[in-house]
């Protein structure tokens, strides 16, 4: 499972960078979305995956009976998803507004601020 996930994460990072290198600002934002999701999946994978062992403490006991899945990475990912959602919502509005103001969706023609 880890090997498969590793390939998926790698493919997602590659796809994200490829999309970000394209000239259209819409594809740029798609690249950013893929990137944040790839990072989340990476956390999920490297933190160790364990099947069918929920982190529950039996009634009356202080510690779980056997080794359980680590709940912390999921908390991290949840936080990261929320942040990424907010930031991406902003990016979508930004590219829409940029399109309205600049009149093009081509990054190569947004060069007013470069010299």
């Amino acid at each position: 499972m880890e090997t498969l996930m590793a390939y998926i994460v790698g493919a997602m990072f590659a796809a994200a960078v490829y999309m970000m290198l394209r000239r259209s600002i819409v594809k740029l934002v798609i690249g950013l979305m893929l990137l944040s999701n790839a990072a989340n999946l990476l956390i999920f994978t490297v933190a160790g995956m364990r099947q069918g062992a929920p982190p529950l403490v039996p009634e009356g006991a202080e510690v779980p009976a056997s080794a359980v899945a680590d709940p912390l990475p999921q908390a991290l990912i949840l936080t990261a998803i929320v942040i990424a959602f907010g930031v991406l919502a902003f990016s979508v509005v930004l590219i829409h507004r940029a399109y309205e103001v600049v009149g093009t969706d081509d990054l190569d023609r947004m060069k007013d601020t470069d010299t």
Binding site: A39, I43, A80, L94, R97, V102, T113, T115
Partner: protein, 500 residues
């Protein structure tokens, strides 16, 4: 001890209050001033406590380290929080005179408070994931501030700024994930302790370089600095001054934090990369500035080149070099903010940032000229101003470490900085204004609120003179901070043994 959380809570509280008073512009302005004043007061109190006790540690929610989120303020963090307060207050003062109504209507002040909360949060946290969260708080506030106004240049600049910063955040997050996978902890002190026991040092180096790239982008280090000069000259002057003073320095601070306390296992490898990064950052920034003829763009490129000096302090990794780096950060935040604010006054009076259209300010406003010369000379490293000591310590550390190449670059860059500042001086202040009979600036801008702007600039200029004249006590502070960074054992013990 709840003082450690105060620098976060104060701006959050005032930001929320300004949001509630969305329709009342005057109230928001007053809150801006009061809020930053309270932040500065809290920061100074926190600094005093840290100065007396060495460290302030707070475990949120009563969970002992390394389980809960820890706030850990050492000397470096305390210094940075005070600087945040000073910059925030200066910007609030400046904004009293220079914020257009339209910006105030769209939440300029709430965003400013939120940004300060994010910056202060990054400085006080002792938890690596929490650092990520504060980075994002700071980023989202800065995105909105950057695009406030909605002009074409702002949109184009913002796309580059947003993309590069989100990219850096993704790398940061991935690095945090891998580190957690390796060590099973997020508390910086606990990471620093456990990282020495990892046998797979190659993997640690990979993570270290990922952090280096992530923070390097935020700090605008070579070769990933180009988002900064593409965007910092586009928003309102108060906003660019706030960004110039604080945002990149948060990246530098994170580098200082991670590459002293945590990643000190393979200094020959990681810090050698940093030496190259530092040298190239200095050089490319200053050469970029030499080619520019727009006031704020010149200053933006100089941020890049100055970042190089700070990273050089870290990269040489001797006690003196770290002291120099910390001193440089203190000096730079003050001076850079002042210079951007000066550009705001010239813009207000002459209505342009282009050097060729400016001129005659020495004749018409000698006071402003003096207020420009102080930070400009300080930036270039003239004694007795703060920049002289900052550069002197870093270069002396370079000589002592026998890093001749990068030290030569640092000296050369100092000279070129002087050239840039002379260029601004000659074009904006000394030469006669074009298109006018008297040679004075045409002055179509209103003078309403100039007093506020002057107050902010004069206060910051006084700070750089103060740092220059009190070189020794300030050096002692930097020495304490560097000493804590280079002896992570004390940091680790203070955090892990503190009672919740």
């Amino acid at each position: 001890m709840s003082l450690a959380v105060a620098p976060i809570l104060v701006p959050l509280f005032f930001g929320a209050l300004s949001l509630a008073l969305w329709r009342y512009r005057i109230a928001q302005r007053v809150l801006g001033l009061v809020g930053t004043l309270v932040l500065l007061a809290v920061a100074i109190r926190l600094f005093q406590v840290v100065h007396a006790e060495g460290m302030v540690v707070l475990h949120m929610g009563g969970w002992a380290a390394p389980l809960g989120i820890t706030l850990a303020v050492d000397m470096l963090g305390a210094i940075m929080v005070v600087l945040t307060g000073i910059t925030g207050l200066a910007i609030a003062l400046f904004s009293m005179g220079d914020t257009p109504e339209r910006h105030e209507h769209f939440g300029y002040y709430p965003l400013m408070h939120l940004l300060l909360a994010g910056v202060a949060g990054s400085f006080v946290t002792g938890d690596i994931f929490n650092l990520y969260v504060w980075f994002e708080v700071m980023l989202i506030a800065s995105f909105a501030l950057l695009t406030l106004g909605g002009e074409r240049a702002q949109m184009e600049g913002a796309i580059k700024y947003v993309t590069l910063n989100l990219f850096s955040s993704a790398i940061f997050l991935s690095a945090v994930g891998i580190l957690y996978g390796l060590l099973g902890t997020l508390n910086m002190a606990d990471i620093a302790q456990k990282i020495d026991q990892v046998e797979n040092t190659a993997m640690i180096n990979v993570v270290a370089v990922m952090f280096m790239v992530a923070f390097g982008i935020k700090a605008s280090a070579f070769p990933l600095f180009f988002w900064l000069p593409a965007s910092y000259h586009t928003p309102l002057v108060g906003v660019s001054a706030l960004f110039a003073g604080l945002l990149t320095k948060v990246g530098v601070y994170a580098l200082f934090r991670m590459f002293t306390i945590v990643f000190d296992h393979d200094v020959a490898y990681t810090h050698e990369i940093l030496v190259w990064v530092a040298g190239l950052t200095m050089l490319s920034g200053v050469l970029g500035a030499a080619a520019q003829y727009e006031f704020r763009r010149i200053l933006s490129f100089h941020i890049v080149s100055q970042i190089g000096y700070m990273i050089l302090g870290l990269a040489l990794y001797t006690p003196l070099a770290i002291i120099g780096g910390v001193f440089y950060i203190m000096h730079h935040i003050i001076v850079k903010t002042t210079l951007f604010l000066v550009s705001g006054v010239t813009y207000r009076i002459a209505g342009t940032h282009e050097l060729k259209d400016l001129g005659g300010f020495f004749r018409s406003r000698p006071m402003l000229s003096v207020l420009f010369l102080i930070p400009a000379f300080s930036l270039a490293g003239m004694p007795p101003l703060s920049g002289f000591f900052a550069k002197f310590i870093v270069i002396r550390a370079g000589v002592e470490a026998e890093a001749w190449g990068v030290t030569a670059v640092a000296l050369l860059v100092g000279l070129l900085t002087l050239y840039s500042m002379t260029k601004i001086w000659a074009e904006v202040f000394w030469k006669a204004a074009p298109d006018t009979e008297s040679g004075e600036p045409a002055g179509q801008g209103s003078t309403v609120g100039l007093g506020w702007m002057y107050t902010a600039i004069a206060g910051l200029a006084a700070c750089t003179v103060f740092i220059g004249l009190n070189g020794e006590p300030i050096y002692a502070l930097a020495e304490t901070a560097a000493d804590q960074l280079l002896n992570p054992d004390r940091y680790i013990r203070a955090v892990l043994e503190a009672r919740p």
